[in-house]
């Protein structure tokens, strides 16, 4: 049930609920952040990568002699050379293999073919023009439909047993029960839509500085990594290096959004080059390299059907997905989940039956399938159900808000078992939607929508009432490449009462150095300013799976709270020793133990910490520290309701946001300022995808969208303004009741924007426009004219 959270600590202490300012900002606002490209090591060499200009072709020959003869070039690396060390191919996070440097064929434009190592980055790039590759061009497959046609050219001809272009198949739910639900339906509503290929495009591209010590064989790998520990283990397994000799350091990260979860070929080549040459090697992507070769997201062709009763109840959902995987199946997702967590597609609604199938196809495009600000395909799922629900309401002649309120899971139904097997932890969907309706004056906008517009513009009102599933795992169900999805926290209180908290996750802008210190402040009463948070260095932090899928607060945040509570229990014994009282007779208030009934007789946590090293009782272990590995009992289920009002110009098909409210419920908010910052950024990302941001290809497989002139991302000029609201429904199984929030708005908002445009055009007969809802598409839909994609 919705609650309100009153902070238990004073503002200066900065416990949960305080919008204290971020500790990490001081270095960033003074240009003193340390990002990957800022790292310079003595003798460091620079790497540049030669990429395929074509989408599909057999490599006939590679001549590197001219490049090798260039002044300043130290080495030229080809796939053949890597093959001699067993490194020409590497495993992906979805159990496929991916070429590091192509040996047999190139399978997408931009694929890595060779690398130059030189003393200067300019020289390395120059020398790429001294590598000559002969290709025998093959037909390019640029859509999953084309890939599955009989007789389509086989993209993965190197893969044993692979006779077609199918990457995976998957299903969830109950087919028989769903068929039964549809047989009973008074009305079936369908939707076919494409969630287009997109790219996270963090402002900092991906990169590596690999530093292998030729004498000791110890490798320090500086990496733009959202998951440094997992990457170290994978490096050990893939490269056959002893894990204790690998240290991965993830420095300040200039945005990740899922782009920095996979291991990319450039990382492997640079590390191999450093190993072979004995000097540090740096590789940093250009923006074009980033957009054409790493970490695409989405690209789901979706078909959905809702079975409905005439009085407006949902009986069942059927969905089938065709996903465009690119040339390698490399989705960064838990092992058992072939289409991520798409089966959250039943959304916020209570109905008995669902059946989902998915098939992935290899195409001549870059691999990836990263969870771009999303917990593994949750945004695709949320988009499908929220678009379907709006269409269902219209077909039934109901208001979309009324239809949602009628079909929502009710608060008393939690924990709620969904027809695809998730157990939703908590929620109060009615309150969130009603709050959003009130904030935006929903009824008022519905009235204004009916009034004639002086300039002939069309008003549309769109709702999305999303439910996410984040915070993987539990360890029974969720693993990445076999590594169970736990996370950890190690906390030490120093003798002077200051503390260091070490985590296995890694911030990329989310503010971990502040929010995790606030959890310690809440639990131990140590001011957040006195708690240093350390992440990113595998030699100096406990093991963890990393930061993506909104899992840092649900998992590492829980680990922090648990370890802090364990330390408080030891502190209680120390306090009892100092106060000459029984531990059971002590009361706790933030930062202080005192004797029950004698509030003046007490010791602060700082005094206790000092005693832990200077005056501990006989028989007690010295020190005040601990480590905890947290295995979440369940995922968390953040939710919210977003309402957008748009104005569509039927003359030119442009649309703009007139007002938008976002009511989010992410459970308890650790730092409301940071939470709202995450939501505002996510709403803008959602707008980007609905309005402008996509990557496409021509019929030859040339990538359109390989730079920020073609791949449009919003600036301050295009970005809408938002009004935010909240409800608080704590997660019942999380130690501090938090659910995670970094992705809610990106997941939830695209459907709200598109629903608003469709709402404006519904009376004109428009039933769907795929994202991005570009002006010419709107114009074409309004005028019944087929337009170019």
């Amino acid at each position: 049930m919705t609650t309100t959270h009153q902070p238990a600590t004073p503002f200066e202490m900065g416990g949960i609920g305080h919008s204290v300012r971020r500790k990490e900002d001081d270095r960033f606002i003074q240009g003193a952040g340390r990002y990957l490209d800022d790292i310079q090591l003595p003798g460091m060499l620079h790497m540049a990568i030669l990429r395929s200009p074509i989408a599909h072709g057999r490599i006939l020959s590679i001549d590197t002699s001219e490049a090798e003869a260039t002044d300043g070039v130290v080495a030229v690396v080809t796939g053949e050379m890597l093959a001699a060390h067993g490194l020409a191919w590497m495993p992906t996070l979805s159990g496929d293999t991916q070429a590091v440097l192509a040996t047999d064929k190139v399978r997408y434009q931009g694929q890595e073919v060779a690398a130059v190592i030189a003393t200067d980055p300019y020289v390395a790039r120059d020398a790429l023009s001294g590598i000559f590759v002969d290709y025998e061009e093959l037909p390019a497959i640029t859509s999953p439909q084309q890939a599955l046609e009989p007789g389509a050219v086989l993209i993965r001809d190197e893969k044993e047993g692979q006779t077609d272009n199918v990457a995976y198949t998957w299903e969830a739910g109950d087919k028989a029960a769903t068929d039964e639900a549809f047989a009973k339906a008074d009305l079936v509503v369908t939707l076919d839509t494409h969630y287009p290929r997109s790219h996270p495009a963090p402002l900092e591209t991906c990169g590596v500085v690999a530093d292998v010590n030729p004498a000791t064989g110890e490798a320090t790998i500086y990496l733009t990594s959202q998951a440094p520990h997992a990457h170290r283990t994978l490096f050990a397994i893939v490269a056959g290096l002893p894990e204790e000799k690998i240290r991965v350091v993830s420095p300040d990260i200039g945005g990740g959004f899922g782009n920095k979860v996979p291991i990319y070929p450039g990382y492997v080549v640079a590390t191999a080059a450093s190993l072979l040459i004995g000097k540090p090697v740096k590789w940093v992507e250009s923006r074009s390299e980033n957009l054409i070769s790493t970490g695409f997201a989405r690209d789901f062709h979706m078909h959905g059907e809702l079975a409905l009763t005439a009085d407006g109840r949902i009986l069942g959902l059927r969905a089938s997905i065709l996903s465009d995987q690119g040339a390698f199946y490399a989705d960064a997702q838990p092992t058992r989940f072939r289409a991520g967590l798409f089966h959250i597609c039943t959304g916020s609604y209570d109905f008995g039956a669902a059946h989902v199938t998915a098939k992935g196809a290899f195409t001549n495009k870059a691999p990836g399938g990263v969870a771009y600000r999303c917990s593994f395909r949750v945004t695709e799922a949320s988009y499908l159900i929220e678009r379907l629900v709006q269409n269902a309401a219209y077909e039934l002649g109901m208001d979309p808000a009324e239809f949602r309120l009628k079909n929502f899971i009710r608060p008393e139904q939690f924990p709620y078992l969904s027809p695809t097997g998730f157990v939703y932890d908590s929620g109060d969907y009615h309150t969130a939607l009603r709050k959003a309706m009130e904030m935006i004056d929903y009824e008022g906008w519905r009235r204004r929508q009916q009034e004639p517009h002086p300039e002939g513009k069309l008003i549309g009102i769109g709702i999305a009432s999303f439910t996410e599933v984040v915070g993987a795992g539990n360890s029974r169900t969720y693993d990445i490449a076999g590594l169970k999805m736990i996370d950890s926290a190690e906390l030490r209180i120093h003798p002077t009462g200051k503390a260091i908290l070490k985590l296995g996750v890694k911030s990329q802008g989310q503010g971990h150095e502040t929010t995790f210190a606030q959890i310690v402040a809440e639990e131990l009463g140590i001011p957040f300013e006195d708690v240093k948070v350390q992440e990113g260095d595998t030699d100096n932090t406990p093991y963890g799976l990393g930061t993506y899928a909104s899992r840092s607060t649900p998992v590492a945040g829980a680990a922090t709270a648990v370890v802090a509570r364990q330390i408080r229990e030891k502190a209680r014994k120390l306090a009892a020793h100092l106060l000459e009282a029984s531990p059971d007779d002590l009361e706790w208030e933030p930062g202080r133990f005192f004797v029950r009934g004698v509030p003046d007789k007490g010791v602060t946590i700082q005094e206790v910490a000092f005693a832990a090293y200077t005056n501990f009782p006989e028989g007690m272990e010295a020190g005040l520290e601990g480590v905890h590995y947290y295995d979440p009992p369940n995922m968390t289920y953040p939710f919210g309701s977003y309402i957008v009002v748009v104005e569509v110009d039927p003359e030119d098909g442009t649309w703009k946001v007139l007002d938008m409210v976002a009511v989010d419920d992410c459970g308890v908010r650790i730092n409301p300022m940071i939470v709202e910052g995450q939501i505002t950024g996510g709403l803008t990302e959602g707008f980007a995808k609905a309005n402008m941001q996509w990557i496409t290809f021509d019929e030859n497989g040339n990538c359109i969208g390989s730079n920020f002139l073609d791949y449009l991302v919003p600036t301050a000029w295009e970005a809408p303004r938002f009004r935010l609201g909240e409800t608080v429904t704590p997660s019942p199984h999380h130690p501090i009741g938090a659910k995670g929030v970094g992705e809610s708005a990106t997941v939830g908002s695209p459907a709200a924007y598109v629903n608003a445009v469709i709402d404006a055009l519904w009376s004109k007969g428009v039933r769907n426009i795929d994202m991005p809802v570009l002006p010419h598409r709107v114009w074409g839909a309004l005028n019944g004219v087929e337009v170019a994609p």
Partner: protein, 160 residues
Amino acid sequence: MEIEVTVNGVAYRRDTEPRRLLVDFIRTELGLTGTHIGCDTTSCGACTVLFDGVPVKSCTMFAVQADGHELTTVEGLRRNGELSPVQAAFKEHHGLQCGFCTPGMMLVATALLSSNPDPTEEEVRWALSGNICRCTGYTNIVEAIRSAAATMHETAGVES
């Protein structure tokens, strides 16, 4: 080619290749790594510096073009040992998340406020339209800049 350039009030004389981009010169030869590279195509503004007080994208200029000119980078924003009003406002209003775009944003803001001490929201957004942020959604950046304007106004009022 030998060039003379003043950066953050310090005069440098350096021999540099004619084709060296200004951003590489600043980052590598002067070691001022607060200026970032985000796109290579003059689109994102992470490399913005002030060139005789005017914001430019240093990925699209050669270092030799800076010969005889004055540059300001993020490292030069502090005034009298204190954070500038723009820097302080970015922290106060949560105008940054990952921090990668932040130097460029603050330099554009600094230039804007020196020519337009009391910009409207529209004017701020237009001034920022050559700079991309992928984290914040811009709301708090705009608020920070308008708040910095107000602070500078108050400070100027006290002084006069």
